[in-house]
Symmetry: C2
Subunit: 657 residues, 2 copies
């Protein structure tokens, strides 16, 4: 049998108390040496040291390069900002061919969707097309994702219109409304850029996946309801987005004269798009059928209306779409206006939602293709692309899930497919806008509706319910918030519930009672492992919080004293397993001291096992060690329990454990 090779060269202590210790007596060294280990460790890093370390990490460059000159540094920053410099070197003609095919397929979906989303954002159709030109081009040179399709998306369009129309009504003053939209887009880009620059990517994590699932589902239904206006060809509609207002508005409108032709066109093409998608799903080779279905619907319906002149019989048409590519909108951005604070608030929400969607889309496809996406670089790229967009008549663009999926399935190799798409949209802007005159509005509604099912993830909600009820409630909270309140209320509920979950967890931590796994030195929760055995004289508890602080210290103290007072005649010692407590504040220290004093007043000894680094350091600073007594601090629970048993000379029933 091997003897202990303790650093200090301690040899087995054979003068142990009457209790039979672990597997073999010789394998337990003297407890004082273990305790010394816990007590005499180095000091943990101070707060200032940690802060400096974090700052240094945040601003570090590739200083690992040995020849660190200014030009090397500049090149490194350049390469970091423009990943195209890296991947363009190995770009081949074969990839280009794939990208052209993917780009054209993407454009056929982008053009109708962009027009539809512009309608959702309460802007003229051409602004949706503009947004599919400049942002994709900027992203191509700065972004790291190869598959993402950049352009306007449904949720951000809804967010923008629902929040900006509270400042300026687009039906009364479209010019002011547009100015505000560009200002918000500019600020969105600034926020996104700042997030990336200051490595604040973690802010995006504050919207948990569960919250986003609920939010997206609610937003999809709200967007769907908004489409009722186009689908039914209504003239009067509510500007609120909640279910109650929209239902009331529809109810009022259908009692007035309306034209069922709009509904007929919209529904038949909606079914056509769904049918094409079904074919595409069944036969992977025919996926392009589903991709071109929207543009085909637009062409067919426009032709139908033109031939039958159905617009004279109440079918609403788009009418004029301005020709020509993006014009400058620099002068429309107003950063000194009275609404700039409001705009900044809206921009912050848009920035977070747009980034959340883009990063989720980018990451899910990068995982499939096995490369890594740098969240901070993506944010800088997105920020730049939206700032550039706001200067060239675009509104907030981000990565679209449905179009990215089409781009990926169409076999894109790099972001060049975005360039092809942008070029196609530019051609369309120059040449085809006149053809859109007779396009019925209801077809746009049906295209938007057909993109919505992808936003509603019922399966995910079922998993949330099954796995984590709290996440399910977060999800339902944001879903119902969006549905019956507004997008802001939905978001607030989502963030509120998510943080409340974290705070509640800190306020009411678990305190476990431990028992020894028979014949081992392993101590486990007696509820999780019912086969463990307990020593009546020693209450062994584990504090399940990583931060013993003002919001939970009193609760933990009262929980433990509660157990002790229940069995006051049995318990002679209490062992606190502090291995889970990574940090402690002065309230936690005070609670420990109060607990020790209260236990002592009942003649009960308190022992502390495996205190963390910060904890033992702060206990020393607060002179708590003097109170507890160095002799009652242990490295492991096993030692602490043994020492307690030894000091009280408890015999009989305890031996069997």
């Amino acid at each position: 049998m091997e003897s202990w090779q303790f650093p200090q060269g301690v040899h087995p202590n054979t003068s142990k108390p009457a209790i039979e210790p672990m597997a073999s007596e010789a394998s337990v060294p003297k407890r004082e040496d273990f305790a010394n280990l816990a007590l005499e460790g180095p000091e943990p890093p101070s707060l200032s040291y940690e802060l400096i370390g974090m700052l240094r990490k945040a601003v570090r460059y590739r200083s690992a390069d040995k020849h660190f000159t200014l030009s090397v540094c500049a090149m490194s920053i350049l390469h970091s900002l423009f990943p195209i410099l890296e991947w363009s070197k190995s770009y081949s003609l074969k990839s280009f061919r794939s990208d052209i095919m993917a780009g054209l397929t993407l454009a056929s979906l982008s053009i109708p969707q962009s027009i539809g989303y512009a309608n959702l954002a309460k802007l003229d159709p051409q602004y949706g097309l503009y947004t599919s030109v400049v942002p994709p081009l900027v992203y191509t040179v700065m972004g790291t994702s190869r598959e993402i399709a950049i352009g306007p998306v449904a949720v951000v369009s809804l967010l923008l219109s629902s929040m900006v129309q509270k400042i300026a009504d687009p039906t009364l003053d479209l010019a002011s409304y547009r100015k505000l939209i560009f200002t918000v887009t500019f600020l969105t880009g600034v926020f996104q850029f700042a997030f990336g620059l200051f490595r604040l990517g973690f802010l995006v994590d504050f919207l948990s996946h569960a919250a986003i699932t609920g939010f997206m589902g609610g937003a999809a239904i709200v967007i769907g309801l908004q489409q009722l206006k186009g689908l039914l060809g209504l003239s009067h509609f509510t500007s609120n987005t909640d279910v109650v207002s929209v239902t009331r508005a529809v109810w009022v409108s259908v009692h007035e004269p309306w034209h069922p032709e709009n509904l007929f066109i919209g529904c038949s093409f909606f079914l056509f798009i769904l049918g094409m998608r079904f074919i595409g799903r069944k036969n992977k080779k025919l996926f392009w059928v589903s991709a071109i279905a929207p543009v085909l619907s637009v062409a067919l319906s426009t032709l139908m209306v033109y031939v039958t002149r159905a617009d004279n019989r109440g079918v609403k048409i788009i009418q004029k779409v301005d020709a020509g590519i993006n014009s400058s909108s620099v002068k429309q951005i107003n950063l000194n206006g009275p609404y700039v604070t409001e705009c900044a608030k809206i921009a912050l929400i848009c920035a977070v939602i747009a980034l959340t969607e883009a990063i989720a889309v980018g990451r899910s496809f990068s995982v499939i293709n096995g490369y890594k996406l740098d969240g901070n670089k993506e944010m800088i790229a997105m920020g730049f692309m939206n700032v550039a967009g706001s200067l060239s008549s675009c509104y907030v663009a981000t990565g679209s899930f449905s179009r990215t999926a089409v781009n990926f399935t169409a076999g894109c190799k790099t972001a060049v497919s975005n360039v092809v798409m942008a070029a196609t949209v530019m051609v369309a802007l120059e040449l085809l806008t006149k053809l859109l005159f007779y396009t019925p509005v209801s077809i746009l509604a049906s295209i938007i509706l057909s993109a919505l099912p992808g936003l509603i993830n019922v399966q995910e909600v079922c998993i949330l319910w099954k796995v984590d009820k709290m996440d399910f409630f977060t999800c339902m909270g944001s879903f119902l918030g969006v549905l019956f309140g507004s997008v802001e209320i939905g978001l607030s509920v989502a963030i509120g519930v998510s943080f409340a979950k974290v705070i509640i967890h800190s306020i009411r931590p678990q305190v476990q009672i431990l028992g020894r796994l028979q014949g081992t030195n392993i101590f486990c929760n007696i509820k999780q492992y019912p086969m463990v055995c307990q020593t009546p004289a020693v209450l062994t508890t584990r504090i399940d919080t990583s931060f013993l602080c003002f919001i939970n210290a009193k609760f933990i103290r009262e929980r433990i004293t509660g157990w002790v007072t229940e069995k006051l005649d049995e318990i002679r010692s209490v062992v606190l397993d502090m291995s889970n407590v990574a940090n402690i504040d002065t309230a936690g220290l005070a609670a420990l001291e109060e607990l020790r004093e209260e236990l002592l007043s009942h003649g009960i000894q308190m022992a502390i096992a495996s205190p963390g680094w910060q904890v033992i350091h702060k206990m020393k600073l607060a002179r708590l060690i003097d109170g507890t007594g160095e002799a009652w601090i242990f490295l492991t629970v096993g030692e602490a329990v043994e020492a307690c048993l030894a000091s009280k000379k408890v015999k009989g029933g305890d031996l069997e454990c």
Copy 2:
């Protein structure tokens, strides 16, 4: 040597891999059995079960009584609401004698302080005296503390006046101001009662001790500055409480004609009170000298002014004080007015601050006398006493630290001393109010000033700096917030910083790298215990958060993959010690799955050690066990490391650990 007594009766596995295991080979059972323990435990309690348990606990009565009838239940509630029914049984004449002495001493301090605090609350002097009558009487029958002295206190008086005067200016419309004060007092009582009834005592803990220390210190300085008005005999003063406004107001005023007589009277009696207190501290038997110093100062200064008619030469005097005990103020409470929301906000702040002060005072003296204070009962008593007070012309009362100390030192035995004090104040209200006509205002300022040093705890601040820098910043934040902003800003800063501390701790948890303590099966942080040894092929990490959730899952995953990519050619396995993780949400589960997949793509095996109850349960529900493989979940880190070493057949350097 003893063999393992495993529940399943497993016998030592002698066909272990080539690595030398723990102390002795025979003491390690087959790993599968341990893993089964972790995997096959019972299900943890569900969320609904826990919620029902919490509710049941919150509303439980003493159902342990075997003869549980309606009358027993009613008696139990009665005894619980009125502790006087318990302790009055054993009340003796000897205790009564002590209480009378303590009560009279207390009254001699209460009368001048009450007048001073009423002045601070911008009310007429008699309202301070009223508040020293009804609330102490109610508390006597309902409260559990024996030493606490009930009445108006400085900080709450400041809070009330600084917040209510924003709604109604007391200099312009004293009647409306008074109505608002009574309404706020009523609502404060309702809030306190509700806190106690619904066992929301933990809400009071949200103001950490560090925050309260800073807040009290700031409030003391602000109160001191407010006394400059009385001390200098100024007529015009600012209604703001921050240092800058007050300094400017004083600066402007002293450039106008003013009467230094006020300052002379105030300062000389301030020094007199301090001198008496010094004598009281030096000689414990003479403590009554310090207790009666304020009332003596009032008497002497009033006599002086009356004899010299100094009020004709610019010395400001109190003038008329209404005689007679409390009148009803039921009709002055207005719960339907336009300011009721504002009042409720102020009342909530007052309720929390008053409770925090009262419970801190009560607890610190109950610890000295060795009995337990029930926080929830105290809140119910405080609530009732303030509701009763608001109906009888009192403003918010609570436990005063300085007067409680005097009461304790004067030898009070029970709350009867409060009754004696209240009776004395009543006598004073009936008979002595006319004598207060010539009392100079500056004497009130000097009495308030003399009570302030007890609120400033420099020693505590030094301890905070030494032990916990974050607590120090919380303290300074609330201190500076009160000093340069307002009491609300100070409180918001205090609560904000405190919660930010908890959230930051959850966002950026520690992830430790573990090493084995040579010759043992104990794994420790390599930084805390530099003597441990690591196995290059196995990265052993411990996640230091009790809740692996959306705000920290990504950070933890990236931290671990960062370490792995640094030593990609060395590391063959990663062991995650999850013993500290008590709970996990779906984002945490997703991060674990992503981590496993990423590691697997580098050919690295991930093993999980000692997952908590909720964690293993949710991993099963989310089918993560299928992914990780049951074979890679272990009960202890030691087993996990050994299994990793065995599977990779790593030899050589690792043997020595």
